[in-house]
Amino acid sequence: MKARTQKHTAVSASRKVSFLALAPLAWLGAFLVVPLGLILITGFDSGLHHYARALQPPFSSVIWSSVVLAVASSVFCLGVAFPVAWFVVTRTPRWRAPWLAVFLTPFLLNFLVRIYAWFVLLRPEGALARGLGTLGFQGLLTSSQSAVVLGLVYSYMPFLILPLYAVLEKLDWRQLEAARDLGANAWQQAWHVVVPHARPGILAGLVLVFVPMMGEYCVPRMLGGGMISTLGTQIESQFLGSVKPNWPFGAALAGVLMIIVGAALTLGFKFGKGLLGGRDDA
């Protein structure tokens, strides 16, 4: 009798719901945790050898240039996205969603197609390159480095626009009015009011674009013209390359990638509170 009635009280009911976690837990255990563990195990299959190799030239410079590329692209992305987010937030409320849609719609399209579209535009004999060439910007966008940066920015911009929009939307406009009242000009308002307010969104957004950029393989492969070697392309060729694949070494490179990404995410969680993991439950 007692056991039966307790089943009906809501408190014990909510406790019992946790059995629901079993199915997803089993799934994620099998198809996420074990595979990730395998990357680590494979990378360490002959001690630290593969990791040591990954951290020496020439691979150390590949890692370094990948980080530089991802950081540069993230910052460039911020420069493009911040004014866009600001523009959307400063529209009247009923026009915000449509404007947001304007900037996000292209990202609904398959990302390979998006990169391919730039490939079509950027090829050396294409109209864009020729146009830029006649303007005196020979090779400005078609050089492999800048093409990859452009492709990365193009691919991951929504991950920055959305968190920026989310924080900027919560800006208390009276703060700007107060700043103006106290004599701040537009730049001073932006620097002293808007940027500090948006900092968590900026950091979260930067991490959200930096992380996938770090692991990117398709963009450097399609737009780099075979000239750009990144962590992503290295990992891919260690596993699937036609010349001398080396799985344990590839796994070690993936381990390095996971460490860099983990560090970035930790920073993001710490400073971009509430924007990476949804709202933290109190």
Partner: protein, 378 residues
């Protein structure tokens, strides 16, 4: 007005209820009886255990010890959905995806064993909406209603299954002051009309006084006093009860002599006012009246004191004092007055010419007999 203990067996009887959350004992053995048709309030500050008590009554929590009887039947282990009572939640907990009508009908639809026809259901729901004056809003969703309207829907929803007992968990908490008074009147009228038993949880002492037939004052998991609003307010059983209503003046008095024929009444001399008064002692019915020379603590509410300007005073039974400050509260003026012996008392007075701070006044009691707080308690 029923006092709950006489006549018919009580509708609700709670015996020795205890509840502990970890190391904290939230209910320390609560005994209660509520009579059929009573408006009964559980009053207490937040954290006193009143919400836990209510949740045990509703069946959301189980008590560690003690029993619970509803209508003479042991309901200690009755599942929530089979208890013959309903709850009006603090923030109403209306179902936002259902219309007002569907919300009210919910309790009737899910109780399949009391199967009622579609037509009965419609009539019942419509009656409830009529009763709470929500008929025009039947097709609206809770999100489209004002706070007061939402409260009415919550009430209608809880009343629709015809429970014999209605629990209300601070239902006015989310309403602003003006609306709150209106809803209080409505609620009281509704309860009278239906003859239903209400158990009303609140931390608002004025609300409890205004609405209740009886009040149970809960403090740190134990009942301090159960009684009518007057009992609680004017004849508190302890200092703690008295302190629950702010601005009670406590004046010292010395017992002079018992009053013949009245075992719990003594004559005493109040040193602060320098007058002799009658005082009731041991309201709980303790047999021994205080001895001569014992000190009494007399409780005098601000509105039971009277002040007059010195010149106008002709009364002999009054004491000299000086006004220290005045605040005008609309309906009344509240004076802080310093007595000759240095004690400060609060006097509230409606009407009469205002008296300026610094003026000399005379203070007197309005009541012939005062209430003495039990000795030894603080």
């Amino acid at each position: 007005m029923s006092t709950g203990t006489l006549g018919a067996p009580p509708l609700l009887r709670v015996c020795g209820l205890r509840k502990r959350f970890g190391a904290q004992e939230v209910l320390k053995g609560v005994d209660l009886e509520v009579a059929q048709g009573e408006f009964f309030s559980l009053l207490g500050a937040s954290g006193c255990g009143k919400t836990t008590l209510l949740r045990i009554l509703a069946g959301f929590e189980t008590a560690d010890e003690g029993t619970l009887e509803i209508g003479g039947v042991n309901a200690t282990h009755t599942p929530v959905q089979e208890r013959d009572l309903n709850l009006v939640f603090q923030n109403y907990a209306l179902f936002p995806h259902m219309t007002v009508y569907e919300n009210v009908a919910f309790g009737l639809k899910v109780r399949k064993k009391k199967s009622i026809t579609r037509q009965e259901l419609n009539t019942r729901v419509e009656n409830m909406l009529e009763l709470t004056r929500m008929s025009p809003f039947a097709r609206r969703y809770p999100g489209q209603l004002s706070g007061g309207q939402q409260q009415r829907v919550a009430l209608a929803r809880a009343l629709a299954p015809h429970p014999s007992l209605l629990l209300l968990d601070e239902p006015m908490g989310a309403l602003d002051a003006g609306l709150r008074q209106e809803m209080q009147r409505e609620l009281r009228a509704l309860q009278r009309r239906l003859g239903l038993t209400f158990i009303y949880v609140t931390h608002d002492q004025d609300e409890a006084l205004a609405l209740s037939d009886r009040i149970a004052l809960l403090h740190e998991g134990a009942l301090l006093q159960v009684g009518t609003p007057e009992d609680i307010y004017a004849r508190p059983a302890s200092r703690a009860v008295a302190a629950f209503f702010p601005e009670g003046n406590v004046l010292m008095a010395t017992v002079r002599a018992p009053v013949p024929g009245q075992p719990h009444v003594v004559r005493a001399h109040c040193s602060g006012l320098g007058v002799e008064v009658e005082a009731t002692v041991a309201p709980s019915g303790a047999p021994n009246a205080p001895q001569s020379q014992n000190t009494l603590h007399l409780l005098v509410r601000p509105e039971r004191l009277h002040i007059l300007c010195k010149e106008e005073s002709r009364q002999s039974e009054s004491a000299d004092a000086r006004v220290e400050s005045v605040s005008y509260l609309g309906r009344e003026r509240r004076y802080v007055v310093r007595l000759a012996n240095g004690q400060q008392v609060v006097v509230s007075q409606n009407g009469g010419a205002p008296i300026a701070p610094g003026e000399a006044v005379s203070v007197s009691f309005l009541d012939a007999r005062l209430h003495a707080l039990p000795a030894g308690q603080l």
